[in-house]
């Protein structure tokens, strides 16, 4: 370590990785490549630091500040200042600031009381939509993976829900689910799809499933296409039934790609905003039947930045933890899975 790190620090790690140490020429080339790579990657990393890193850090700083404003108890203007974990307690334990800096439980109607409901709604949407989209997406992909006439047409049709902007999708389903709309006409029902508590949740789930299943199907199809044909042939020769071939051959080989697709969808579903916001006005039912965490953050922004910053930080941590669980506990290797897919796609 100490002898070679003067010449080329990068090569020392290769040595310790168990690979044979590089020749002097190769070492120099690697050092040169590293320098090039740094120049080429730096602009991207700097830009990401500006557009993501800076807001995240400043959100965390803000979340520990008090919101300046009128004290509801005394009617006096209160300057901000250090708040400690008060903004977090506001959301997690529904604690509000009382007179003289004491904490009291929030009055009804305060957004803080909507936190656990929003957590429930967000997770409920995530679990139901991801299960539905994975199941349907798998079915779509299995069909599209077969050879039949008109397969090209199916593949084209499947791109259409994906290509429609979510805002337009939401308005389209808002019309379909309107009281005199086509959903009630087909079902011969008189459901208030966008304002009843459970109906509005169901409407959001149906619309999201329609919009996103194609994307899921395409990801799963890419995974199916790298499974070599002869594996199926071998299973067939051994007398495996269609059902057995699916569960014993397709599923285990598809698992890495499927896990990556599910991870992407889960992270995407956890930040859902557009669809419930536009479809049900962010409320539905009693006013917060479809209020997700993202909707709650946006509602809070105009009532106090620092509180909103705390809530967005909580949301961010929840999403980060779930990604961590996927990658560490379930062993989803995103980068490697996608690399094998690309190699197989050639």
């Amino acid at each position: 370590m100490s002898t070679s790190n003067v010449v080329a620090p990068s090569s020392t790690t290769t040595g310790t990785n168990g690979r044979p140490p590089l020749r002097a020429g190769a070492k120099r080339q690697r050092a040169q490549q590293s320098r090039w790579a740094l120049y080429l990657i730096l602009p991207t990393l700097v830009l990401l630091a500006v557009v993501i890193g800076y807001p995240v850090v400043s959100a965390i700083v803000m979340s520990f500040q008090k919101d300046a404003g009128l004290d509801p108890a005394t009617g006096l203007f209160v300057q901000g200042g250090f708040a400690g974990f008060q903004n977090y307690a506001h959301w997690l334990f529904q604690q509000c600031m009382g007179p003289n800096g004491s904490t009291i439980s929030c009055p009804p109607g305060n957004l803080g009381s909507g936190f656990w409901n929003a957590v429930f709604v967000t997770f409920f949407f995530t679990v139901t939509t991801v299960i539905l989209e994975t199941g349907l997406g798998l079915w779509f992909a299995l069909i599209m993976n077969r050879a039949f006439r008109g397969r090209g047409f199916v593949r084209a049709a499947i791109l259409i829900p994906w290509a429609i902007p979510t805002a337009v999708t939401a308005k389209l389903w808002f019309f379909i689910f309107s009281f005199a709309g086509v959903a009630n006409a087909i079902l011969s029902t008189h459901i208030l799809w966008t304002s009843d508590e459970w109906a509005s949740r169901l409407a959001a789930i149906i619309a999201d499933t329609w919009k996103t299943t194609p994307f899921m199907a395409l990801l799963i199809l890419a995974g199916l296409q790298i499974i070599p044909e002869d594996v199926y042939e071998a299973a067939k020769v051994d007398g495996a039934s269609t059902w057995q071939r699916f569960w014993r051959v397709t599923m285990p080989l598809l698992k890495p790609a499927l896990m990556v697709a599910i991870l992407f969808r889960v992270l995407d579903a956890l930040r859902i905003y557009d669809l419930p916001q536009i479809l049900t006005g962010g409320g539905g039912g009693t006013g917060h039947a479809t209020t997700t965490l993202s909707i709650l953050v946006v509602d809070q922004i105009r009532q106090g930045f620092n509180s909103a910053a705390a809530l967005s930080t909580i949301t961010f941590i929840i999403i980060f933890l779930i990604a961590f669980i996927f990658v560490r506990i379930l062993g989803t290797n995103v980068v490697r899975t996608q690399e094998t897919q690309q190699k197989g796609a050639k």
Binding site: L40, I41, L48, M62, A167, V168, A308, I319
Partner: protein, 304 residues
Amino acid sequence: MTTVAGPATATAEAGALPRTRNRNRSHARIRNAGIRTGVQAIVIVLWCLLPFYWMIVTSFRDVGFTNDNTPWFTHVTWDNYVTALSTNLGNHLGQALLNSLFIGICVTVISLVVGIFASYALARLDFRFKGIVLGVILAASMFPGVALITPLFQLFTNIGWMGTYQALIIPEISFALPLTVYTLNSFFREMPWDLEEAARIDGCTQAQAFRKIILPLAAPAVFTTAILAFISSWNEFLISSQLSSDATQPVTVAIASFTGSQPHQEPYTAIMAAGTIVTVPLIILVLIFQRRIVAGLTAGGVKG
């Protein structure tokens, strides 16, 4: 084909059947399987197309027959398109289309110009922390937009940027740039890099080889990535809905807040017309470049 498959199916099936009967049966089975696949394919196509079809039917239907619910085109009129594009009711769809186009092009160009170098390095060069850099970029693409909105709202209010174009373009780079780098990286991995080596043997520097050999070859990949980045910007709603003004709002915000002549009556037919205007160019683009877009989508794995 049949001679190879014949013995295999024979052992798998009842076994002692005469060969011809067995073949007839397997033909019938294949035909049945074909019909089953066909039926399922039709169900999938209907599931994908019917709501879209409904949007188009409604967009051409007279306002008075909004809730007619006849499944085919009736009371056909262009009026809804006129209503959608008119500014009499306080809607600015035409302006919003220009805004979305402008914002989308800026976001795409910035992301490409910056991201192309990073994706080249990630696909081509051997260096330390490569896995970490890829991981950071992937994590950035999954980053929740809602975590950016609060600090940006405050920052842009303080510096007077609320409702400006840059206030919409800068946050959108946060998801367009990682998407660009990741998708381009996966395309770059598959390119015939031997040509670069050949150019270098012929005396080009690495920079020259990149500019003269690789860039022309990479053009289709860059173009596909540009479409994906543009679509992701075109579809953005959360950030735009908070940081834009009436003058700078993109189409998604314009459609979500579309107002009719009556205060408590949704102008459904006009909204469907607006939705069709916003969607159809995108769908034509996607269908033309279908194959490449699917490749880019699955490679990037990032929802647009």
